[in-house]
């Protein structure tokens, strides 16, 4: 199929899609007129029921906890996929990146970049832990916190060398932490089953003050496990992709 034909086929399809879409829109309540009742109902009962004031987290880690477990495993599988797809193939060996680009002058990281990265490592790490541990109270949680945590490790890479990054987050440790995070989430659910409750029931004490860090039972615990799993997955992905810059392919096909 030539590019021109391909474009025309697409445009015909897109026109049809747009027509059906607009037709579908005419049946929707307009923007700003959310009809409910599901969201309204959860907004009304979530704080009393879970003692979490962050209703989005309550949904993620409690009401739709099973769905989030699936989402978390998509992330886990994607990270494993990256590691598998980028494994060293026959004929590839490691070599300093600079050899590969003889004709290219790669400027060293400027002092400003190194300095700012170094300064930001601590605050970013703290921010990541804050987000991971405050799912129940504020717009945060394991997913956001995990990404910020991983960022602090990437800052170490920016501030220094790849080898330092690798020494600080060795692959075995990262793998293990990721596995603990993924398994921890599933185990929280299975513990409920062992106690004779439905899977992922909130069996921990909820606390009495809504929005306290110690409140909301398993929501905080699951958020913690999700946080370390997300952080490990992203560190793994970043280091696998950085690894590629060190690879040199011996035989060219």
């Amino acid at each position: 199929m030539t590019p021109a034909v391909r474009r025309w086929v697409f445009l015909a399809g897109a026109a049809g899609l747009a027509a059906f879409y607009v037709w579908g829109l005419t049946g929707l309540p307009g923007f700003g007129n959310y009809p409910g009742p599901y969201g309204d109902m959860i907004n009304r009962i979530a704080v009393a029921q879970t003692k979490a004031t962050g209703v989005v987290s309550a949904i993620n880690f409690e009401y739709r906890g099973f769905d989030t477990l699936g989402e978390e495993f998509i992330l886990f599988t994607a990270a494993i996929g990256v590691a598998t797809v980028l494994r060293h193939l026959r004929g590839e060996r490691e070599r300093p990146a600079r050899d590969e680009a003889i004709d290219r002058n790669v400027p060293a990281a400027s002092d400003a970049v190194r300095m700012v990265s170094l300064i930001l490592v601590g605050p970013t790490l703290l921010m990541g832990w804050f987000l991971t541990s405050h799912a129940q109270t504020s717009p945060s949680g394991g997913f956001q916190g995990g990404v910020v945590l991983a960022t602090s490790f990437v800052l170490i890479y920016l501030a220094g060398e790849f080898l330092v990054f690798r020494r600080i987050s060795p692959l075995d440790v990262t793998d293990a932490v990721g596995a603990v995070g993924a398994a921890g989430f599933a185990a929280v659910g299975l513990t409920a089953v062992a106690m004779g409750l439905p899977y992922l029931s909130n069996y921990l004490p909820l606390g009495s003050t809504p929005g306290a860090v110690s409140s909301s039972g398993t929501i905080a615990l699951i958020s913690f496990f999700v946080g370390i799993e997300v952080a490990a997955a992203f560190i793994l992905i970043v280091s696998e992709l950085l690894d590629q810059t060190l690879l040199f392919r011996q035989e060219s096909r």
Binding site: P3, V22, Y34, N43, L75, A78, S138, G141
Partner: protein, 114 residues
């Protein structure tokens, strides 16, 4: 105005699809896929929006304050993170495709088998 955000979502979706169909570079194609996925965020958050309502966080507002739908926000949130990981997987495939075939043009890659 009533359906404007939904039209925006459709526009982002179709613009992204157009990019995927006509792309001449795998990395560009992956970015187009991200654009397609962004349309779902606009749609989800647009569907859940309630005029004049607060964010669904009751740390500093009374519990009975009208708030927007938290369910679609929860869906969008997990979606963002998973999307980032899936993007990384696709980029890994692009790296291997380039290693193996020496090109990143999807329309040239079609000629290669296996």
């Amino acid at each position: 105005m009533g359906i404007f955000p939904f039209i925006v979502a459709a526009w982002i979706l179709i613009a992204g699809l157009y990019g995927i169909v006509t792309s001449r570079h795998l990395v560009h194609q992956i970015v187009c896929l991200i654009v397609v996925q962004s349309s779902t965020y606009v749609l989800l958050l647009g569907v859940g929006y309630k005029r004049g309502a607060a964010a669904p966080y009751f740390s500093d507002i009374p519990v009975h304050t009208p708030a927007v739908d938290p369910v679609v926000q929860a869906l969008a949130l997990t979606d963002v993170v998973v999307e980032a990981a899936v993007t990384a997987l696709l980029l890994a495939f692009a790296i291997q495709a380039h290693k193996r075939f020496g090109t990143l043009d999807p329309q040239e890659l079609v000629q290669f088998k296996g």
